[in-house]
Assembly symmetry: C2
Homo-oligomer: 69 residues x 2
Amino acid sequence: MMLTLQPLRRLFQKTGAKRVSDDAAQELGKILENKAKDIVLEAKRLSEYSGRRTIMKRDVKMAVKNLED
Amino acid sequence: MMLTLQPLRRLFQKTGAKRVSDDAAQELGKILENKAKDIVLEAKRLSEYSGRRTIMKRDVKMAVKNLED
């Protein structure tokens, strides 16, 4: 897991949630990690398309746009 | 920031990305954090709708579905 439970729980608490089950925090972590993987794969594809070996901020931004379509 | 740079960089590297700018990793963190906030707010709304004070896994799952529509 990329994300540990504690920062995820904090995020729930910041929105005013009083109680959060561990399951719920874990599920959020899983969802975010899958989302991240999709973005990274697309960003990598875009950097390669541009003939670069380094993934840049603009690759990440464009990746999010492409995935929204 | 909920997410620190190092786990984000690892995620890039797991997909086979050789080099990643700090900007790119930071941008991914920002995007994931915003996504997380949307999910948490919706999950909280759903738990309240069900008359519960505890956010459960199923609230998170339903929140993701609702946000996809």
